[in-house]
C-alpha cells in the first residue's frame, strides 16, 4: 500500500501547487498588465471636489466696505437619515412651510440624488428660519445647515460700479476666455466684479476625496497630498468715496441721468451714478433671476450705465474745449470779441443766442461766462478755416486730433466693461455724409456742442480733468490698489500720464479764469460755494428721441461740468440730467452740492433748502414710459419682420432649389 500511497501523495501535492500556480498566473496578469483596473478604481473611488475661495472684498477710499461676502445658510437633507417618526409639524413651523410642500421638497431631493446622498432642501434660509431651525436642530435628524458665501453690498449703492456675479452660461463656456470655468461656477458679470474677476475670484482649490459605494465623499485621498489649496481672492481698494456715492445717488433719485466725479490728480473716480439706480442686493441670491428681469424690463433702464454708456450732445459744456482749441491753434486771441445781438447770421439761417445785450461777447472771458452761442460758433469756424491748416478739411481734422487727445470719440479705458465710445466726427466722416461738399458753416453747430458730436458723461468729466490739470489726465479708473499693491499689472494702464497735444499754460489759465467767471458772474451763479473757487460750465443740450422711426424733439438735457478748487483741483465733476431743462437749474446745484460735500465733508446749513429741493425733485417725465413701450413694440415688430423675411428667403431658396433639381432631373431623363 505504501508504494501507491507515496506516488499519490505527489499527485495530490502536484494538484495543490498546480492550481495555486494557475491562480498566481492569473493574478500576475490581472495586477501587472491590465491597467484598466487602476483607472476604473480611481474613477469609482476618487471624487474631485472643487473648493471655491471667498471672493475679494471691495473697500472705498476710506477703507469702508462696499462689497463683502455674507454667510447664508442652506438647509441640506439626506433623505434616508430622516427617521420615519419625524416631527413634521415642528419642522414646517420652523421653516414656515406647509405639509404638502414639505413632502414635495423631500421627494425632489430623493428623485434627484437618491436617498443616501445629501442634497439642498431649501436654499438661503432667512435669518428667522435659520434661528428657528437651529433652536430645534436636534429633533430634526437628517437635516443640516450648511454655510455658503454670497456677495453683499452693505450700503445698497454703487450697483453700476461694483456689478454683480452670476452663473456662467453655456454660451460663455464655449469661448476661450472662460475656458477655466465649469458649469455652475459663478463669475463677475458686470462692473468691477467682471473687470477684476481674475483677482477677485482668487484661486480655486481642488481637493481629492475618496467616495464610497453610495457616492458619499469620505476622507482625503492619499491624505490630501495631491490637493491644491484654494487662495482667497484679493481685495480691491477704490478711489470711490462710499458716502459721496450714496449722497450723489440720493440727489439723483427720481431723475434720469448721471453723475461722474473724478480726482483730477490721479484719475480716480470718486463717484459714478447712473440714475435711476438700483439696490445691488437685488441681484444676488435666490431671487436674482426674477429681479434681474424686472430691472431689465423697467422703462427707465436702471441696468444701463448712463455715466459711461449713454452718449449726449454736450451742449454748451463743450465751449471751454472749443475755446481751448481755438486759442491753441491761434485762430483767436483771448481779447477777440464778437458783436452778438441774439443771433449768429453768418451761416445763412440764424442761430439763436440766449443773450441780446451788447458786449456780452466782447472778449473770450465774457463770451464763455455768458455762454454766447454766436461767439463759439464763430470761433469754431475760425478754427476750421484757420489759414495755418489750409482748408476746412485739414482744419477740422486738426480740431479732431485735439479732441481725440482729450479722450473724446473713443473709450477712455475706464476699468468697467462695456464702455461707450461717443462720437467725434472727423473730415472723412463729413466727406461721406456730405459727399465731399461741405464747409465750416455745414459743421458750425459742433462748436456749441450740438450737431454730430456726442460724448459720454465720463468723457466730459475727463475734459474737465485736463483743464484742471492744465494739460494732462490719467485714464479714469476706480481701483487704487489690488491686495494693497498699487502697482499691480492690472493697474499699469492707469498709472500712465496722458499729456494732451501742446496747449500752453497761459491758454489753460484763460479758460480757467473764464470758467471761474461762469460761477461767479455767469450762468452758474447758483453753484457758487463761499470759499471754494469753482470753475464750471453749464449746458442745455437739445436732443431728439426716435420714436417709431420719427425723430421728435424732446425737452433739453440739463448738463453741467466743473472742477474745484481752481488753485489745487481735487474734484472734477460732470452731471447730466435728461429732459430736465436748463443746466443751471438742476445739474449745476447738484454738482455744487457734491463738490461741497466732498471738499467740506458736509453741506452748509444755508444750502439745506437747495439740497431738499434737489432730493425731492421728480424729473422723470411720464412720456419716458410711453416712449419706452412704443420703442419696445417697434423693436418687437422689427424683429418679427426680420424673422419673416428670413423665412421667406429660406422658403424661396427651397423653391428655387427644387425647381432647379427638377429641371436637372428632367435634363438627365431627356438626355437618355
Amino acid at each position: 500500500m505504501s508504494n501507491t500511497a507515496n506516488s499519490r501523495q505527489y499527485v495530490i501535492s502536484f494538484i495543490f501547487i498546480g492550481i495555486a500556480s494557475v491562480i498566481l498566473l492569473r493574478l500576475f496578469f490581472l495586477q501587472l498588465f491590465e491597467d484598466k483596473y487602476k483607472v476604473m478604481a480611481n474613477d469609482i473611488a476618487i471624487y474631485r471636489k472643487v473648493v471655491y475661495p471667498p471672493r475679494g472684498i471691495v473697500y472705498d477710499r476710506k477703507n469702508r466696505v462696499m462689497l463683502y461676502n455674507q454667510v447664508v445658510y442652506d438647509l441640506m437633507v439626506t433623505p434616508n437619515n430622516v427617521p420615519k417618526v419625524f416631527d413634521t409639524v415642528q419642522f414646517c413651523n420652523a421653516l414656515g412651510i406647509d405639509k404638502d410642500t414639505y413632502g414635495k421638497l423631500l421627494n425632489r431631493i430623493r428623485v434627484r440624488n437618491g436617498g443616501m446622498r445629501q442634497g439642498p432642501y431649501m436654499e438661503e434660509l432667512t435669518s428667522e428660519q435659520t434661528a428657528r431651525f437651529q433652536e430645534n436642530a436636534y429633533i430634526f435628524p437628517g437635516y443640516e445647515l450648511v454655510e455658503r458665501n454670497i456677495r453683499a453690498y452693505p450700503s445698497a449703492s454703487a450697483g453700476i460700479i461694483l456689478g454683480y456675479v452670476g452663473e456662467v452660461s453655456p454660451e460663455m463656456l464655449k469661448t476661450s476666455r472662460y475656458a477655466s470655468y465649469q458649469q455652475g461656477d459663478y463669475l463677475g458679470m458686470n462692473g468691477l466684479e467682471r473687470s477684476y474677476e481674475e483677482v477677485l475670484r482668487g484661486q480655486r482649490g481642488v481637493h481629492f476625496l475618496e467616495r464610497d459605494n453610495f457616492n458619499r465623499p469620505r476622507e482625503p485621498f492619499k491624505g490630501g497630498t495631491l490637493d491644491t489649496q484654494e487662495v482667497a481672492g484679493k481685495s480691491l481698494q477704490l478711489y470711490t468715496d462710499a458716502e459721496l456715492q450714496a449722497y450723489a445717488e440720493k440727489l439723483m433719485q427720481n431723475k434720469i441721468g448721471s453723475v461722474v466725479a473724478i480726482d483730477p490728480k490721479t484719475g480716480g473716480i470718486l463717484a459714478m451714478v447712473s440714475s435711476p439706480s438700483y439696490d445691488p442686493n437685488l441681484l444676488r441670491g435666490r431671487d436674482r433671476a426674477k429681479n434681474f428681469s424686472n430691472l431689465y424690463k423697467n422703462a427707465t433702464h436702471p441696468l444701463f450705465n448712463r455715466a459711461m454708456q449713454a452718449t449726449y450732445q454736450p451742449g454748451s459744456t463743450i465751449k471751454p474745449m472749443t475755446g481751448l482749441v481755438a486759442l491753441s491753434v491761434g485762430a483767436i486771441v483771448p481779447s477777440f470779441g464778437l458783436a452778438c445781438f441774439g443771433h449768429y447770421n453768418l451761416c445763412g439761417r440764424p442761430i439763436a443766442c440766449e443773450h441780446h445785450d451788447a458786449g456780452h461777447a466782447a472778449n473770450f472771458r465774457l463770451a464763455l461766462a455768458h455762454s454766447c452761442n454766436s461767439y463759439f460758433c464763430h470761433i469754431f469756424r475760425l478754427t476750421c478755416d484757420n489759414p495755418k491748416a489750409g482748408g476746412v478739411k485739414k482744419g477740422l481734422q486738426m480740431w479732431h486730433d485735439y479732441f481725440s487727445s482729450f479722450g473724446y470719440g473713443h473709450a477712455t479705458g475706464v476699468d468697467l466693461p462695456f464702455e461707450g465710445k461717443g462720437l467725434l466726427p472727423d473730415s472723412s466722416y463729413y466727406n461721406n455724409r456730405y459727399h465731399n461738399v461741405w464747409n465750416s458753416c455745414t459743421v458750425v453747430f459742433v462748436g456749441m456742442g450740438q450737431g454730430e458730436l456726442a460724448l459720454t458723461p465720463l468723457q466730459m468729466v475727463n475734459g474737465m480733468c485736463i483743464i484742471a490739470n492744465k494739460g494732462y489726465y490719467y485714464t479714469p479708473h476706480f481701483v487704487k490698489s489690488i491686495g494693497n499693491n498699487e502697482k499691480d499689472t492690472l493697474l499699469k494702464p492707469y498709472l500712465k500720464k496722458h499729456i494732451v497735444t501742446s496747449v500752453s499754460d497761459t491758454t489753460f489759465s484763460v479758460i480757467q479764469q473764464a470758467m471761474q467767471d461762469v460761477v461767479e458772474s455767469g450762468t452758474a451763479i447758483g453753484a457758487k460755494i463761499d470759499g471754494i473757487t469753482i470753475c464750471a460750465k453749464t449746458g442745455t443740450a437739445e436732443n431728439k428721441a426716435i420714436v417709431g422711426g420719427v425723430a421728435i424733439k424732446m425737452a433739453n438735457h440739463s448738463m453741467f461740468v466743473a472742477f474745484a478748487p481752481r488753485e489745487n483741483p481735487k474734484i472734477a465733476i460732470a452731471v447730466a440730467i435728461e429732459n430736465a431743462g436748463f443746466g443751471a437749474t438742476w445739474a449745476a446745484p447738484i454738482a455744487s452740492l457734491l463738490i461741497e460735500k466732498y471738499l467740506r465733508d458736509s453741506v452748509s446749513v444755508k444750502r439745506k433748502v437747495m439740497e431738499d429741493k434737489m432730493i425731492n425733485a421728480h424729473l422723470i417725465n411720464k412720456y419716458v414710459y410711453s416712449i419706452d413701450s412704443v420703442q419696445r413694440m417697434h423693436f418687437q415688430e422689427a424683429y418679427k419682420a426680420k424673422m419673416e423675411k428670413k423665412m421667406l428667403e429660406a422658403s424661396s431658396k427651397h423653391y428655387t432649389d427644387s425647381v432647379m433639381l427638377s429641371r436637372w432631373i428632367r435634363n438627365q431623363l431627356g438626355n437618355k
Binding site: 499519490r8 495530490i12 495543490f16 491562480i23 490581472l30 495586477q31 487602476k38 473611488a45 476622507e219
Partner: protein, 445 residues
C-alpha cells in the same frame, strides 16, 4: 521512541501552529483595514467586525487548548457518534434554518447563529478517517467504496437541500482523500477533466478551444506513439475522449444554450463566472423572449466580481499600501470582509502580498501532507488529508472566484474571512490534527 518521553506540548507541530497564527493575524489586520475609517475616534470599537473576530480568535485558541488536552483516542472513538449527531443537526436545519440571503443553512438562537454545514465538515472528516482506517474496511471493494462515497455525499445532499450549494461542493474535496486511499486514477482524471472542460467551454472562445483540445490530443498521440502503435483500445480511447469533449464543447453546450436554456438561466450562469453573456447566446436568447427586460443586466454576483477585479487589479505589484485601498475601504466590494476578503489583500499589498499569502497557504498544505505521511496510524493520515483537501478547496475556489476564474459560491477563505463559524471550524480542524499528530507514534484505532 524517544519522542514519547517528551511532554505533550513539546510534541506539537510548531510549524503548523506558526502558519495558523500568521494566517489568522493577517486576517485580523485585513478585516481591520476594510472596516477602519480615518474618522473613527479609536480602533477599539466593539461593534466593528474586527473586534468580534479578535473575540472569535480568543475562543478558537481556548477551544484549541481544550482539544490539545483531550486524549487523542477520543476523536477516533467518537467519530461515528459525532457524524450521526452532525447529520441529525443538518436534518433539523433543513426545516428549522433561518433564512440568510436566500439560504436556510443557519441555525439561530437569539443573536447567536451558526452554520451546521461548516462544523459538519469536521465530523465528516473524522467519520471518513475512522471508516477508512477500520481494519475490516477493504477500500478495494465496490461496497466499501460506495460506503465511503455515501459518508461524504449524504451531508452534501442535506446541505444542498438547505440551498447552500457552495458549501455542499466542499464535500467533493473528500474524493481527493479517497483517491489517496485507493480510488482508481480514472476517477480523479475524469472528474478533473469534466470540471476543466465545463469551465473552459464557458470561459474560452469555441474556436480557440477546438484548436487547443485538438493540439493536446495530437501531442498526447505523438508522445505515446510507441504504445499506441500496437494498442487499438488506446487509440479508440484517445479519439473517443477527444470526440466526446469536442461534442460537448462544440455541439452540446451551444445547443443547450441556444435551444434549451431560458434567457435568465443563461444570464445567471455567465454572471456567476463574472462574464458578460457572449453575443451569440445573447441574441439567440433574446429572440426567444423578446418581452424580457433587457435593462436588468446588473446582477449582484456580476457586480461583485467586477468590483473585486477592479480592487485586485488596481493593486499593481506593490499594492496601494495598508489602509489605502480605495475600493475596499469605501465598500465598493460587497462581502469584502467575508467571502471577498482577498480583494483587500490584492488591493493593499498588490501582487507581492498575494504571492506571499498564496505561498503561506501552499506551505501549510504541504506541511499537512508531510504530517500525514509521517503517521503510523492510518486514521490520522486520512484525517490529515481531509484537512488538507478542505483547506485546498476553500483556498482555491475562494481566490478563483474573486478573480473571475470560478463561479461565485459562498465559500470563505480559511482563517482570513470574518465569521465565527468559519474561523472556529477551521481552527478545530487544525487543532485536532495537531493533537493527533502529537501522538503520531501511537497507533490509534
Amino acid at each position: 521512541m524517544g519522542a514519547l518521553r517528551k511532554s505533550l506540548f513539546n510534541r506539537l507541530d510548531g510549524i503548523t501552529i506558526l502558519l495558523y497564527m500568521t494566517l489568522v493575524t493577517i486576517g485580523l489586520f485585513t478585516i481591520f483595514s476594510v472596516e477602519h475609517r480615518s474618522t473613527d475616534p479609536t480602533i477599539f470599537i466593539m461593534s466593528k467586525t474586527y473586534m468580534k473576530q479578535v473575540m472569535f480568535f480568543g475562543i478558537a485558541l481556548f477551544i484549541g487548548l481544550i482539544i490539545i488536552l483531550t486524549e487523542s483516542k477520543f476523536f477516533s472513538s467518537f467519530a461515528f457518534l459525532f457524524y450521526t449527531m452532525g447529520l441529525f443537526i443538518l436534518f433539523i436545519t433543513i426545516f428549522a434554518g433561518v433564512d440568510v440571503k436566500g439560504s436556510r443553512s443557519w441555525l439561530g438562537v437569539g443573536s447567536f447563529r451558526f452554520q451546521p454545514g461548516e462544523v459538519c465538515k469536521i465530523f465528516t472528516a473524522l467519520a471518513l478517517a475512522k471508516f477508512l482506517s477500520l481494519p475490516e474496511t477493504n477500500f478495494k471493494t465496490l461496497k466499501h467504496r460506495l460506503v465511503g462515497v455515501a459518508i461524504v455525499l449524504v451531508p452534501a445532499a442535506m446541505i444542498i437541500l438547505q440551498k447552500e450549494t457552495g458549501l455542499a461542493l466542499v464535500y467533493f474535496c473528500f474524493f481527493l482523500v479517497m483517491y489517496r486511499e485507493g480510488l482508481p486514477n480514472s476517477v480523479l482524471i475524469v472528474g478533473f477533466s469534466t470540471v476543466a472542460l465545463v469551465l473552459a467551454t464557458l470561459l474560452v472562445d469555441r474556436k480557440v478551444l477546438f484548436i487547443v483540445l485538438t493540439a493536446v490530443a495530437l501531442i498526447i498521440g505523438f508522445l505515446l506513439r510507441n504504445n499506441l502503435r500496437r494498442n487499438v483500445v488506446g487509440i479508440i480511447l484517445l479519439v473517443g475522449i477527444w470526440g466526446t469533449s469536442m461534442l460537448f464543447s462544440q455541439v452540446a453546450v451551444p445547443f443547450i444554450f441556444k435551444h434549451v436554456l431560458e434567457k435568465h438561466q443563461i444570464d445567471r450562469i455567465f454572471s456567476t463566472i463574472g462574464m458578460d453573456v457572449p453575443d451569440a447566446y445573447n441574441k439567440a436568447a433574446k429572440g426567444n423572449e423578446d418581452e424580457d427586460d433587457g435593462g436588468k443586466k446588473v446582477n449582484s454576483s456580476d457586480y461583485n466580481v467586477k468590483q473585486s477585479k477592479i480592487a485586485i487589479g488596481s493593486g499593481g505589484f506593490w499594492g496601494k499600501g495598508f489602509l489605502n485601498g480605495t475600493s475596499t475601504k469605501n465598500e465598493f466590494v460587497p462581502e469584502q470582509n467575508t467571502d471577498f476578503i482577498f480583494c483587500a489583500i490584492g488591493e493593499q499589498f498588490g501582487f507581492l502580498g498575494s504571492l506571499v499569502l498564496i505561498g503561506l497557504y501552499v506551505t501549510l498544505m504541504m506541511r499537512i501532507i508531510f504530517i500525514a505521511e509521517r503517521q503510523r496510524s492510518s486514521f490520522t493520515r486520512i484525517y490529515a488529508y481531509c484537512v488538507a483537501s478542505i483547506l485546498f478547496f476553500h483556498f482555491a475556489v475562494n481566490i478563483s472566484m474573486t478573480i473571475g476564474l470560478a463561479p461565485v459560491i459562498g465559500i470563505t477563505l480559511p482563517f482570513l474571512s470574518y465569521g465565527g463559524s468559519s474561523l472556529l471550524s477551521f481552527s478545530v480542524l487544525i487543532f485536532i490534527l495537531i493533537r493527533l499528530d502529537a501522538d503520531r507514534q501511537v497507533l490509534i484505532r
